[in-house]
């Protein structure tokens, strides 16, 4: 299950931003049905420059700017996908996803079920989340739990540059509607990305670090925090295993269960508020399928049940970090 890089794979170190741009470029080039559109994605190259150069390369029929109406972004993507195209739309901030929520929840998620002839909705909605930049209440929320409860949607949250690229390509080729969440605070993170053509299939969890003492299931940007916490804990003699689900829904629980069966301790980590979140679902799945392997209460790391605050100190207090993961692991072990 773990998709470790083959030692012989040639790689280049690049940022998440570069890997995303590459993924879009490669898919636009590979498949004429692929479209990229959204607010400021064409001439400006995307607010965070993810789509830079693509408009110039592929022209305004394939890459174009749209009116400031997320409802049109969501709705037209559904229609284009139903008609047979492969639209990739960018809804700038994930906080804006609810504007297109009707099209995502009631339309995109349900048309495969609604049609009787195998017609599906192969669309990708790219959107950004991530706290820590003082953007306040409405430009950083982590929305995975809003959509996890919707059968028919796929929610993807990559962590490393390699995964951002492989999973975006995988999402574009996937026949189901995908909400592809990018952590705007991590666009500058760099890492090895294979030079050769590759994709990563959705719905496959990955083990990011092996360990025997505790399992940390971390998503999106929290994978980096988990890795940092694991290094610190290792110095204290605690070896954590980190499972990165990558696809939030439908979740591949296999590697999580296997890991918990090995370590007997589960800690989850997410940026969203803990209550009703991804970690809660993971906890429930583990309790359901690996109850008798648990040796401690499940600890969930996440944000408090408040909006994202603006003031610097409040934002710092709000944002879950490696410190919180470290404490949670120790709490679980010492309970």
């Amino acid at each position: 299950m773990s998709q470790q890089l083959d030692a012989e794979t040639e790689t280049t170190t690049q940022t998440i931003r570069e890997s995303l741009n590459q993924a879009l470029h490669e898919e636009l080039e590979r498949d004429e049905r692929v479209l990229l559109y959204g607010e400021d994605v064409a001439e400006y190259g995307g607010l965070y420059k993810i789509s830079e150069g693509l408009y110039e390369e592929f022209g305004e029929e394939r890459v174009f700017d749209t009116p400031l109406a997320e409802t049109s972004l969501g709705g037209t993507a559904v229609g284009a996908a139903l008609a047979g195209a492969r639209p990739v739309v960018e809804i700038m901030y994930a906080d804006f996803l609810p504007i297109a929520g009707d099209h995502l929840i009631n339309y995109a998620a349900k048309m495969y079920f609604n049609y009787g002839d195998e017609t599906s909705v192969p669309m990708v909605v790219r959107s950004m989340y991530g706290t820590g930049d003082g953007h306040g209440l409405h430009h950083g929320q982590s929305p995975e739990a809003w959509f996890m409860n919707v059968p028919g949607l796929k929610v993807v949250m990559p962590s490393t540059p390699r995964e951002y690229k492989g999973l975006l390509k995988g999402a574009i080729r996937d026949d189901d509607p995908v909400i592809f969440l990018e952590n705007k605070m991590r666009y500058g993170e760099s890492g090895p990305v294979p030079d050769e053509e590759y994709t990563i299939s959705l719905c496959e969890s990955d083990v990011k670090r092996e360990g025997t003492d505790a399992t940390i299931v971390a998503i999106g940007g929290m994978v980096y925090e988990a890795l940092e916490a694991a290094e610190r804990l290792s110095e204290q003699g605690i070896e954590c295993e980190i499972v990165d689900p990558r696809t939030i829904s439908p979740l591949d629980t296999g590697p999580i269960l296997e890991s918990v069966e090995k370590t007997n301790i589960l800690v989850t980590a997410q940026e969203a508020p803990t209550f009703g979140g991804f970690g809660s679902e993971v906890a429930a799945q583990v309790i359901d399928d690996a109850f008798f392997y648990l040796d401690a209460p499940v600890k969930r790391v996440g944000a408090p049940f408040t909006p994202i605050p603006f003031a610097e100190n409040l934002e710092e207090a709000y944002q879950p970090t490696a410190d919180d993961i470290e404490s949670a692991v120790i709490d679980a072990i010492e309970t």
């Binding site: 109850f291 008798f292 392997y293 040796d295 401690a296």
Partner: protein, 486 residues
């Protein structure tokens, strides 16, 4: 001087009960004399004097429960009396110099301690642990008060429980820890701990007690199980580590046998009987010469029961079933749910339990309405039930509702074998082996075939005379076997 302390009698033991003092302060002792009896949950133990001298002091009263290592008292010579550790100096005087005071009844001692400043030494030891200083004398440091607030406990209670007048933070910790383990908080295991405990056959509560935690984790179970070769606490104190095994003088373990199934039943019943019953046995020697010749003469008609023992057993059962109605206290059960309002329930029906030894332990199938069955019928029934017992083919109902039990250890050659009561019944008859012995008939010594019958009865409810009369009645029946055929 010998300091008497409460020993650790088992892995799980944390405290013990001082059951009984064999002597009073000032009594003379010889090395090897029992001084005090203590009891843990699982066992009792006598502490002996290891030197000649006197009991110099008692620190704990009989009936008190104290932690392991608590000083119970001191044995030594009169000269050593002066060297007794603190707060016992007064007692040395009182105990050794004035033996008459040591003879005072507990009530007297209580009065003395209540009415005067001259505190009785025998009370000090217990009061310190159990009642502590008077509430008004307890003070606490600010940090202790803070710790008490954090743990939501009362500093006065801490002082009294720990036995200090000046409470410090560590006393609070000690108190809280003691409460967590002692105050009845249930021992619970994590899901993983429960799985591992199940797999390795260890008891979670034992693990918790052993590890001193109410929250048992997987590692606790593993460590506990690793130091126990098997699930049986009988080998509690064995050290499994091979390196230390060589130096360990205790016998090496051949095998540990789990107490389950029939063995578990036997274990539980005998535990009950030995701890709760007033069992006494009366024995009769029965001349079965005539009975044996009758059995021989019956010959081929008994072919079905060619094994002599069952047929002899059938005659015994017949005799018992015929005589029991006249002795209702022995065809009865004791109803004693919580020790109060106990009563005896005498039965109309004669349902005889027959103890049968099997590979999977002792089973006691029931012969319903034995008084209505002939010897032949009883022989049939015995044969069927014994086979069913060996083949584990007994229904639940076939092992219930017995009113009296017969056990035949004679088949194994037992000369005299006193059986134990099958609770809640009040009596059991043990049948022993038949031996040829010199007997006197018409003034002449002749060889006779003799057999012991042992009746064990619960003397709490059955009078000795009743038991003896019943046994003699059975004996008479067996010595006149023709009477049993009718």
């Amino acid at each position: 001087m010998q300091e008497l302390t409460l020993p650790k009698l088992g892995q799980a033991m944390e405290e013990g009960l001082v059951l009984e003092w064999h002597c009073d302060v000032g009594d003379e002792l010889t090395a090897g004399d029992p001084v005090v009896v203590i009891e843990s949950e699982k066992t009792s133990h006598e502490i002996e004097a290891d030197q000649d001298g006197r009991l110099l002091a008692k620190r704990v009263d009989a009936g008190d429960t104290v932690p392991i290592g608590t000083t119970l008292g001191y044995v030594g010579t009169d000269d050593e009396a002066d060297d007794l550790p603190d707060d016992s100096a007064a007692e040395t005087d009182a105990g050794a110099a004035e033996p008459s005071d040591a003879d005072a009844s507990p009530a007297d001692r209580q009065t003395a301690s209540d009415s005067s400043g001259d505190v009785d030494r025998e009370q000090i030891g217990t009061e310190t642990r159990d009642d502590g200083p008077a509430p008004e004398t307890i003070r606490a440091s600010p940090s202790a008060r803070k710790a008490a607030r954090v743990h939501d406990v009362d500093v006065t209670a801490v002082g009294q429980a720990v036995g200090v007048a000046q409470v410090r933070p560590e006393h609070v910790d000690e108190y809280v820890a003691a409460q967590e383990t002692d105050s009845g908080e249930e021992i619970r295991g994590s899901p993983a701990a429960r799985r591992i405990a199940d797999e390795r056959g260890v008891d979670l509560e034992a693990v918790g007690e052993d590890r001193g935690t109410t929250r048992v984790r997987m590692a606790d179970v593993e460590q506990y199980a690793d130091q126990q070769p098997a699930s049986i606490p009988a080998t509690d104190e064995r050290i499994d580590d091979e390196a230390t095994a060589a130096a360990d003088p205790s016998p090496s373990v051949r095998e540990t046998v789990s107490i389950t199934g029939g063995r578990q039943v036997m274990f539980d019943r005998m535990q009950t009987v030995s701890s709760e019953y007033g069992s006494t046995t009366t024995v009769a020697k029965v001349d079965v010469t005539e009975l044996r010749s009758l059995l021989d003469s019956l010959g081929s008609s008994w072919e079905a029961y060619h094994d002599v023992s069952p047929s002899l057993t059938a005659f015994v059962l017949r005799a018992v079933a015929q005589e029991l109605p006249a002795y209702p206290m022995l065809n009865a059960e004791i109803v004693d749910d919580d020790g109060t309002d106990a009563f005896v329930r005498q039965f109309e029906d004669i349902n005889l339990g027959l103890a049968v030894d099997t590979d999977h332990g002792l089973l006691v199938p029931t012969i319903y309405d034995a008084d209505t069955q002939s010897v032949t019928e009883l022989g049939d029934t015995v044969s069927d039930l014994a086979r069913q017992a060996r083949e584990r083919d007994l229904e639940m109902e076939q092992q219930q509702n017995g009113t009296f039990t017969v056990s035949n250890a004679g088949t194994f050659g037992a000369y005299i074998n006193t059986p134990q009561i099958n609770p809640p019944q009040t009596g059991i008859l043990g049948v022993c082996t038949v031996n040829e012995e010199p007997g006197v008939v018409d003034g002449e010594v002749v060889p006779r075939e003799m057999m012991h019958l042992c009746l064990t009865y619960d003397h709490r409810v059955v009078e000795g005379a009743t038991a003896v009369q019943f046994l003699q009645a059975v004996k008479r029946r067996l010595e006149d076997p023709q009477s049993l055929l009718s």
